[in-house]
Amino acid sequence: MIVSSFVGYRGVNIKRGGGKCKGGPGSNFPEMLVDCPSFSKPQRHMYDDTTAIDVVDLLKVFEKKNRAAVRAVDYISFRVRRGEIFGLLGPNGAGKSTTIKILTTLLPPTSGSASILGYDVVSHPLEVRKSICVVVQENAVELYLSVRNNLRTFGRFHGLTWSEIERRADGVSELFGLREHQHEKGVDLSGGLKRRVQVAKIFMIDTPIVFLDEATTGMDTFNKRATLQAIREESRKGRTIVLTTHMLDEAEELCDALAIVNHGRVIAAGSTDNVKSMGLRLLNVSLTFERLTNDILRFIHAYHPYKIETSDHSIEVKVREEEAALGILAGARQTGLLRHFEITNASLEDVFVELIDKKESVTS
């Protein structure tokens, strides 16, 4: 199933606001692209009723006095389908929040374009804002208002009637365990609770697109679980969710599709399963021995594993080829010391670390 695809521009100059960017667009081809039939077919805003968000060669350069300009977003392209949970992943400073700020009309792009449900974020910001709601990365709670009034004002801003506001505020208070905190002011809440209020607000309304920039940061495990469950429910109802997170297990569990960005560029993208398995074919071999000997380590090293981690009697090896995994397993059995083994696909985190590592070494 095609869940996400890329469009690119080769050698096209994009003009906006008098500025001219040469050569860049289209050069940001992800190293690993999966499910991307339209990638080689340069098109601008291939909007159809299955597309929720379309980003084409987006560039954001922050110019600073007496300092080098920062290319926070460097010709990024991706498309998010309606009803999809889409993860934007990457290390600190990769450009995730900047991309979200452009998509939510907070920042204008330097060049390139992005549309939400067919509305261009620069030329139709109001229509875009009517279609979205956002949990920004920064804490955003009215410190001098009670939790209830935080929900009320949010509802008012989004045009809900008074009765609807009260009904929905009851619902989300229940869902996020805010009932007993209703009358507490934002300033008196703990960090995690503030975040809960901020996240709870987006469940007050039904905008078709939701942006979550590290929404679960600071939440305890129980509330994180409840939030993820609620996000999943919203997606089932047809809302499109775009999220950033550093919790890769969370992304793996939740996202239908994702893009991994680094230094403002997409380095991998596609359906979550495909990003995990198709591109790098990284396999995880876990072995537990009665005892670890130098011979065991020596024969494993002969397979040139990507990574080895040892602890007590266990050893975890990441390899790229299936033959290597099976060879290691066969060798381990021959030692007569093998007690337990497991071969699994690498986790999203493994893929992520490898991609970022590779990128860094190429860059350096």
Binding site: L106, R129, C133, V136, N139, A140, V141
Partner: protein, 253 residues
Amino acid sequence: MKEVLAVMYREFLIRRTSPLWLFFDVAVPLLYLLMFGVAFDKALGLGLAIGGDSVSYNQFFLAGVLSMSCFGSAMNQSYGFFVDRDNGIFYEFLTYPMTRGQFLLGKILFQCLMSVVQCVLTLVAGVLMLEIGIQWEFLLLVFCVVIIGAAGWFFFLAIFAFLIRRNDTYNTAINVAYFLLMFLSSLFYPLENVPGWLKVLSYGNPLTWQTDALRFLTIGVGQIEFIVIESLCFGVFLLVSFWGAIRTLQRAI
């Protein structure tokens, strides 16, 4: 319109949480008039001669107090952007389904209502306690000038609140600007006999335009043709500031 009302509702909820702030907001101009005005009134004795008329300092200063309270309201409201930015809520607001203009209008309209309340209290105190004669028939126009004045200054100051991102720098810059604007205007003294350079600077100051209009409407001092020109200038100042505030708000992230 409902977007503007939503912003006003939010401002109201926040103000309601601090009755002390609300009290000072409303009462400060009154204190100015009673303490400052009375002292000068006594010191000047016979009053001021303006265009052949003699007016008491209290009468003269009334319009100045109203202008000052508009500026003060606008200044307080513009500090709110820093609080909102610190709370993070500022960024969230800008993703809500409203235009930047509606956001700014909502922010100031609540404050304009407060300015009208300030104005009523100041006028009533002026009449009852200082026996100032007021042209009541122009009361609605006085309210209009107060509202337009507060809005104009708010949009003007908002530009700097968005450009200067540091609370402390903004605080210092605005206090210096307030001091200069107050003393280079017709707020404290008539401009008829001041040195030429001061006159030129003062007549280029929107605070003078607003104060002259208020003085004309409250105590009938000034020439109508001149006041009309000054009012038009203030209108242009308001529109340009509104436009400038929207432009800088787009780049305020």
